[in-house]
């Protein structure tokens, strides 16, 4: 067994290339191409700023993904805590020196990229908890200390992100973290109890929300309450998607988007534009593409020998799933509007960077699937 392991870790470059998950890479590439077309459409059918910038980021981060995949999964295991702490420090930095845009202080200007550390935290929290549950003794998983430690790992970034304020991202971080707790073997009972506690305390939580967040929830419950104000986004998004019909209005023909009825069409509402132009068929196709990506990631998790790799892959697959679900539910009027991008499709460097890093680690897990981590 030892021999086998050593052999495995000593793959040469060509063996690593051979072991890449080409179906996953292919799907990511298709998704990237689709995203470029959609971005081109948001620019009104011209090769303008958003498309150019998106193309550059895609190219750079795609290469980065491939580079990451060649590093041994062990490296990511070793550096997990470090990466987590580093991201926490970035978040703290942001809360003091970050760039403020329309009331939220979330960004660091790196000149070549405006970085949003909370997006990186989505991956960091998965890495950190994956390592934690990889290392923890199975008997201690449900001990008080075991659970407390795991929860602390989740709660610290959430507090920092909430204070920016950014409800959407903190919800996504919480989901990503909790799923690792679930996979790690925390008793189902605890999940139920906390879910019920959460539901009961929901009214109190709502009373602590910012006025604009409360408004969003009210608007979600009844979008027609204030159709030109808070309900505008939901209504216009539903009109755009609904009017797309079975086969869509056609590429560059989405009237709702190019006549500016759609808000935030580059970022959170990118799916709306896609669905308006490509219709039900296109939307199903996109969901299928995402599903294949998720299934491929899960498959890599299943193939992986180490718990760390498994936990990371499953956690990341779930995170991707939850991003899609939250984003789609939002634009389809099933959830209140919380800022949450659609992976790869939405414009925005930090989100894409985090996703590509995630894909990179997953690909690394595939190449080093037989690696045993002590």
């Amino acid at each position: 067994m030892f021999q086998h392991t050593r052999l495995n870790s000593d793959q040469n470059f060509f063996q690593k290339v051979k072991n890449l998950d080409y179906i996953l890479i292919f799907c990511i590439l298709i998704l990237s191409v689709v995203s470029l077309f959609v971005m081109y459409s948001t620019d009104g059918g011209e090769f303008l700023f958003h498309t150019k910038s998106h193309l550059i980021k895609l190219s750079v981060f795609f290469v980065l993904m491939l580079v990451i995949s060649f590093f041994n999964i062990k490296l990511w295991h070793v550096s997990s805590y470090f990466l987590y702490v580093a991201t926490i420090l970035l978040l703290i930095w942001v809360s003091f020196y970050g760039i403020k845009v329309s009331g939220s202080q979330r960004w660091i200007n790196l000149y070549f990229l405006v970085l949003q550390p909370s997006e990186l935290m989505k991956i960091a929290v998965i890495l950190c908890l994956a390592k934690y549950y990889h290392r923890i003794n199975i008997e201690k998983v449900n001990s008080l200390i075991g659970i407390s430690f795991a929860l602390t790992i989740i709660i610290i970034p959430i507090i920092l992100v909430l204070s920016q304020p950014d409800l959407g991202t903190s919800v996504l971080i919480a989901c990503s973290g909790l799923i690792i707790l679930w996979l790690g073997g925390v008793k189902i009972k605890y999940f139920f109890v906390s879910l019920i506690t959460f539901l009961i305390s929901l009214p109190f939580i709502i009373s602590y929300l910012q006025p604009y967040q409360k408004l969003r929830i009210l608007t979600f419950l009844d979008p027609d309450r204030d159709p030109l104000g808070a309900g505008y986004q939901i209504i216009q998004s539903k009109i755009a998607i609904g009017s797309g019909g079975f086969s869509g209005k056609g590429f560059l023909q989405g009237t709702q988007s190019y006549l500016d009825f759609l808000p935030e069409k580059h970022t959170d509402f990118i799916f709306t534009l896609f669905s308006e132009e490509f219709g039900f068929i296109g939307s199903i196709g996109l969901l299928l593409l995402y599903s294949i990506i998720i299934i491929r990631i899960i498959r890599i998790g299943v193939l992986s020998r180490s718990s760390f790799a498994k936990l990371f892959c499953f956690g990341f697959a779930f995170a991707i799933f939850i991003y899609i679900t939250v984003n789609l539910s939002m634009v389809l009027g099933l959830l209140p509007i919380v800022g949450s991008p659609l992976p790869i499709l939405s414009y925005g460097g930090s989100s894409m960077l985090a996703t590509m890093i995630g894909f990179g680690i997953v690909l690394s897990a595939k190449i080093h699937r037989k690696q045993i981590i002590a």
Binding site: Y133, W182, I239, G242, S329
Partner: protein, 634 residues
């Protein structure tokens, strides 16, 4: 080994829990797809409509109003091309500079500039700001010369109402102007077709026939963005001009009326005695309806409003006058019909008549001597009519008067300002004034003074219905393509068979004949009150009755002074009236003339009839030739 066991157990837990999550994911994705299906497939139509509603906006343009033509098809209310100057604020770089340039080029007043700037603030930047509604050709070409430096300026050619005959038709047609809030609220059609810049009828036929005249808007459909800015034009839907309206009036006769009434206050009405078609209807003084198209200036409006001759009142329909002696044919007819007297009945006129201690004067102080009906009508002897009115009683008189059209609206459905006037009787006085009828009042009613109030058009209709042999006619101002000709109706009236035109207003047709003969004498025999105005040529010869209506009671002193008209202050002078029909041998037309404060009917009103009949009779041959009636078939 323990480590390995743990590791396997851990893997089991992870894999098992992954499976549970996987199932949840499937369900959730299924839910999302169901939602997509519901929005995009089930409710596709609803959202498509909403999306079109978002992006398509209609711009209505003012519809083109229908023309109004006279009987001969001459346009009397048409449409004229006008040149306007629009500015699109969003295309202008420096608005203040542009306005100062336009101010110099177009000679705009400071007040006008302020108004334009104020208007600009109320508009969206892409809406056109109308700087000038009516540019002259010179101004228009000047603007076109400077166009290269006036960015955002748009010279526009559009259509506006035009009344080519200026003021002669004002009281018939009314005029158009911008609608106010009330106009829009009252009329749903205007509400639907309203666009800034639309002009609607404010008065007369323009108002009553609004819904026919208004037409259908041109519609431009534009695709707009979320901020309401036009992106591109999708469709241009041509509207429809409003219906053409043809009225029964003859411009030539109308022109003569205006000429005759020049400088005087009063009214002339002419009517076809068989068809009931109004041939002319002129109220004097009039005013120019074209002044209202682009907003009348305050000075001009004040001039019209404060004119003592009251041009704003349509005297033909809403002027209420005592008929004076023009009522006498009806009084005589009523007396004949009721068997009060016959043609041999005579009354001695001594210049006045005493009744219950009150004196009732005849206009001729010395008296007329013994008067028969024919003589009394000819010389308009008041005493004779006092006497027959006394014997007849006011209640019976009223029956006849109402039958011939007094006290009722004549063209009511077309003119909302028409008045009904009144013909009094005993019941009326008790109800209205709460006092009993006094016999003296019957006497003065018999000479057309007192409570009786008539409109000029009523007198014209009354005369027409006597002239046509005593048959009821329906007055009309709009032509009707299915209507019979004058000749055909005349025939229908005289057949014994029952038809819609054979509705006699008399009990004995002989009586009508007597009255017509008496009116003939009044104009064509020596001592007749309008003898001087007669035409001997039988082609034009007419019969009529003068009237002089007192505006105030004549005091004893005034009676003694016997002042000439020009010696009395204008407001106290008598109204001069004249009613007539002709040609006498074969009557076709009736007319009524009223000159306010004109003095006596014989000197001020009757001479106009001479000129009128010459023209009316000559025009008849042209009128006859207009073939638009269905074949007569009863």
């Amino acid at each position: 080994m323990i480590n390995k066991n743990f590791s396997i157990r851990k893997s089991d837990i992870i894999n098992r829990r992954m499976f549970i999550i996987g199932t949840a994911k499937l369900i959730i994705f299924g839910g999302l797809i169901a939602r997509l299906f519901s929005l995009q497939i089930n409710n596709n139509k609803k959202y498509l409509t909403l999306s079109d509603k978002n992006r398509i906006r209609e711009w209505k343009l003012p519809p083109t109003r229908g023309n109004i033509v006279d009987y001969f098809g001459n346009i009397i209310a048409g449409n004229l091309k006008v040149y306007q100057l629009h500015v699109i604020p969003e295309q202008v770089e420096n608005f203040n500079y542009l306005i100062s340039r336009l101010k110099v080029i177009l000679n705009l007043s400071n007040k006008r500039v302020e108004k334009i700037k104020k208007k600009k603030k109320q508009l969206k930047p892409w809406e056109s700001l109308i700087v000038s509604e009516n540019l002259s050709w010179d101004e228009f070409s000047k603007i076109n010369n400077y166009l290269y430096e006036l960015v955002g300026v748009k010279p526009v050619m559009t259509i506006s109402r035009d009344y080519p005959f200026s003021d002669i038709y004002t009281h018939v047609l009314g005029y158009v102007s911008q609608p106010n809030e009330e106009d829009i609220l009252e009329n749903e059609v205007i509400q639907e077709k309203f666009v800034p810049g639309i002009k609607i009828g404010k008065l007369g036929l323009e108002k009553t026939l609004e819904n026919d005249l208004i037409g259908v808007n041109d519609i431009q459909r534009y695709e707009v963005n979320a901020y309401g800015k036009r992106i591109n034009q999708l469709e241009y839907q041509k509207g429809k001009q409003g219906s053409k309206i043809r009225i029964t009036l003859d411009t030539e006769v109308q022109k003569l009326c205006a000429e005759l009434m020049d400088g005087k206050a009063g009214s002339i009405s002419v009517m076809d005695i068989f068809t009931g078609e109004v041939i002319a209807m002129y109220s004097s003084p009039s005013y120019n309806p074209n002044s209202f198209l682009f907003g009348i200036s305050q000075d001009e409006w004040q001039l019209i409003r404060n004119n003592p001759l009251k041009p704003l009142i349509n005297k033909t329909l809403s002027g209420l006058y005592s008929p004076g002696s023009t009522i006498k044919p009806i009084v005589a007819l009523s007396a004949l019909e009721n068997g009060i007297m016959d043609t041999n009945f005579k009354v001695q006129c001594k210049g006045k008549m005493e009744l219950h201690g009150q004196t009732f004067h005849c206009w001729k102080e010395k008296g007329h001597g013994w008067m028969s009906l024919n003589n009394a009508m000819k010389q308009s002897c008041d005493t004779y009519f006092y006497e027959i009115a006394r014997k007849l009683g006011v209640d019976k008189l009223k029956v006849t008067a109402e039958r011939f059209g007094l006290g009722k609206k004549v063209l009511g459905e077309y003119f909302e300002n028409e008045k009904a006037g009144q013909f009094p009787d005993t019941k009326w006085k008790i109800n209205e004034l709460g006092k009993g009828w006094v016999l003296g009042e019957t006497l003065i009613t018999g000479i057309g003074q007192g409570y009786t109030q008539t409109t000029p058009i009523q007198l014209c209709l009354m005369t027409a219905q006597i002239a046509n042999g005593g048959y009821k006619i329906k007055p009309k101002i709009l032509t009707d393509d299915n209507q019979l000709t004058s000749e055909q109706i005349k025939k229908a009236m005289q057949t014994t068979s029952l038809n819609e035109f054979n509705i006699p207003l008399y009990d004995d047709s002989k009586n009508i004949k007597i009255i017509k003969e008496a009116m003939f004498s009044s104009t064509n025999e020596l001592y007749g009150t309008s003898y001087k105005s007669r035409i001997d040529d039988p082609k034009y010869q007419f019969a009529g009755k003068t009237g002089t209506a007192q505006v105030k009671r004549i005091s004893k002193r005034e009676r003694e002074l016997d002042l000439k008209t020009f010696q009395i202050p204008y407001e106290e002078r008598d109204h001069a009236l004249y009613i007539a029909f002709g040609p006498y041998k074969n009557p076709r037309y009736s007319l009524s003339i009223i000159v306010e404060h004109g003095g006596s009917g014989s000197s001020a009103a009757a001479p106009m009839a001479t000129k009128l009949f010459k023209l009316i009779v000559d025009r008849h041959q042209y009128r006859k030739k207009i073939p638009n009636y269905k074949e007569f078939n009863i």
